[in-house]
Amino acid sequence: MTKYLAKRLLLSLLTLFIITFTLFVLIRIMPGDPFPVERMSAEMIALKRLELGLDKPILVQFADYMGMLASGDFGNGTSLYNGAPITPILLTCLENSFKIGVLAIFCGTTVGLFLGIVAALNRGKFLDGLCTVFSIFGVCVPSYVFMIFLQYFFAYQIPFFPYFFDPGDFLLSAVMPSLSLSLLSMSTVSRFTRNEMIEVMASDYVKLAESKGLYGFRLIRAHVLRNALIPVVTVIAPLVVDLLTGAMVMEKIYGVNGVGKLMVDAIAGDGIDYNYVLALSMVFSALYIGAMLALDILYGIIDPRIRLSAKEG
């Protein structure tokens, strides 16, 4: 297991490094300068380039950048926030996004699992139909439709929740953003759990357990759920990524000062802030790769067979 983990960790770091390097080179070989050149004389441009270290070879620049990163410094923005240092802004945004994201994942998986189990145990009955309709809608209707309607009805028409997200009033103002963000994962997880549970419940070993006299909650927990959960864990990985994408829209709608909004600001404005794009891309990739790694480990915990085969391989 340790060897397998070390291998996975190394591969993840390598991937992250390749992504960062490619992005860095791509951005550096772009024609033009990352600062407004219209009102600058040739000497000023040369001076500015010297100051930013743009005159050095790309590889040296990359090494410098890596050195900076090692000390936790992402450098300064090129156009956003008048070129203020990126790190403190990024940290604030990360905190906001992270809180809502974790809440959304938690909400999505627990409620999704619950709905899936309820639907599977009531297969073919009214509750099952209700859960199916809900999951179809959750998958088909883009989450931002829910976000807009939630906001319109429960913050504007009935002013119960705050219209915008406010870190100072986290509990109340995070309800709608995280709930609407979790709808996609909720419905996907519930649909998957339902189908897996039904398949497992029809299997021979569950029939054996039943004929031994096991029933009710113990049967479900010990024999059905554990086996049904394995494939469910695999769908959570892509959902974490969707969450990142969803967060971009969610942050725009609820006015959250988060990484998604920061990314939109960096690319959708008039000028593109290269340093923000670079920093955010790294953060996103690291989050994504980290989530994949975590899920791989989780997979091993749930299913001992995978642990064993990893030990051999």
């Binding site: 772009m30 088909c140 209707v141 439709v145 990524v241 994408t245 939109v264 690319i267 290269y274 891309s281």
Partner: protein, 329 residues
């Protein structure tokens, strides 16, 4: 004793029961595709999906052509004082039933804040979504399929290298790819298509590879090889036709993803920009005015939701029809 010679006529062979109930339909052999079509057309949800998509397609093609406004046109009249009045933010109305200077105009979905006819714009936006759907099909079919088939067929070192590449490419979040593309390209439909081009094929290539690994061990491939067929012939003429089933399902599911990607990009302001329009940009415009004119957001959202629902239902229908599980029978 010799029996009289008798030639049987058609009348001697008839069904005992006229209604044909004694024909065994459950276990009768039938062609693969015939079975698929039958299974599919019996699925109420799948048929609903087909109807939804067909209707939206029809409106998207016809509505902008028939409409008396173009989707970019700002509707205005000059009144008796020579002042120009713009038909901005009108509620839905049909000719003769409205009020004011625009009483004789028809705006089925009303007009937006700039005075453009929303009916025309929504269907123009649906055109963009359908174009994106078409692009997604092409990407899946051309890039994803070839990549997966080649990787699966040749195996060994080629497969290893191609799979490592996918592993790395697959672990780059779509958002990062889009932002890098945004650096190099102008905002617009080109950016959306480029983003799809880079990300959409991975899922399909995995499925094509898995199918190919399964099929290449079959006898008919060996037979073809023995007869002297080259790799290209085997891949595209022997293996490809047999992988069509799972591929159609995959294509059907990647269409809504592509449509959503466009709507999402346009919504955050990286996709289609004004005065062009797509479902995403219309939703964004509606969202910005939601507290003043909440009805403006309804048409694009409904069309988007129905389109996604339609394609998802078709995909589900295909999946069940192509690989019916015993439980569904």
């Amino acid at each position: 004793m010799e029996t009289a010679s008798y030639t049987p006529t058609a009348a001697d062979f008839r069904f005992l029961r006229r209604d044909g109930a004694n024909i065994d339909e459950n276990f009768a052999s039938q062609g693969y595709w015939k079975g698929v079509v039958r299974h599919f057309s019996r699925n109420k949800f799948a048929v609903t999906g087909v109807i939804l998509v067909a209707l939206i397609f029809l409106f998207a093609v016809l509505a902008p052509m028939v409409s008396s406004y173009s989707y970019q046109e700002i509707v205005s009249v000059t009144d008796s004082h020579g002042k120009e009045l713009v038909a901005s933010s009108l509620s839905p109305q049909i000719a003769g039933a409205g009020e004011g200077v625009f009483a004789d105009r028809t705006f089925l979905f009303g007009t937006d804040d700039m005075g453009r006819d929303l009916w025309t714009r929504v269907w123009q936006g649906a055109r963009v979504s359908l174009l994106i759907a078409f692009v997604a099909i092409l990407i899946d079919m051309l890039i994803g399929t070839s990549y997966g088939l080649i990787s699966g067929f040749f195996g060994g070192l080629v497969d290893d290298a191609m799979q490592r590449f996918i592993e790395i490419a697959g672990s780059i979040p779509t958002l990062v790819i889009i932002s890098v593309l945004a650096i190099f390209m102008d905002k617009g439909i080109g950016l959306v298509i480029a983003a799809l081009l880079v990300t959409e094929w991975i899922g399909m290539s995995k499925i094509a590879r898995a199918e190919c690994l399964k099929l290449k061990e079959r006898e008919y491939v060996l037979a073809s090889r023995t007869l002297g067929a080259g790799s290209a012939h085997i891949i595209f003429r022997q293996i490809l036709p047999n992988t069509i089933g799972p591929m159609i399902t995959q294509v059907m599911f990647s269409i809504p993803v592509a449509i959503f990607t466009e709507a999402f990009l346009s919504f955050v302001g990286v996709g289609i920009v004004l005065p062009g329009c797509s479902i995403g940009s219309l939703i964004e415009a509606g969202f910005n005015n939601i507290t003043i004119m909440p009805y403006q957001i309804l048409p694009p959202i409904t069309v988007l939701a129905l389109l996604m629902l339609g394609f998802n239902l078709i995909g589900d229908g295909f999946r069940e029809a192509l690989a019916p599980k015993l439980a569904d029978m």
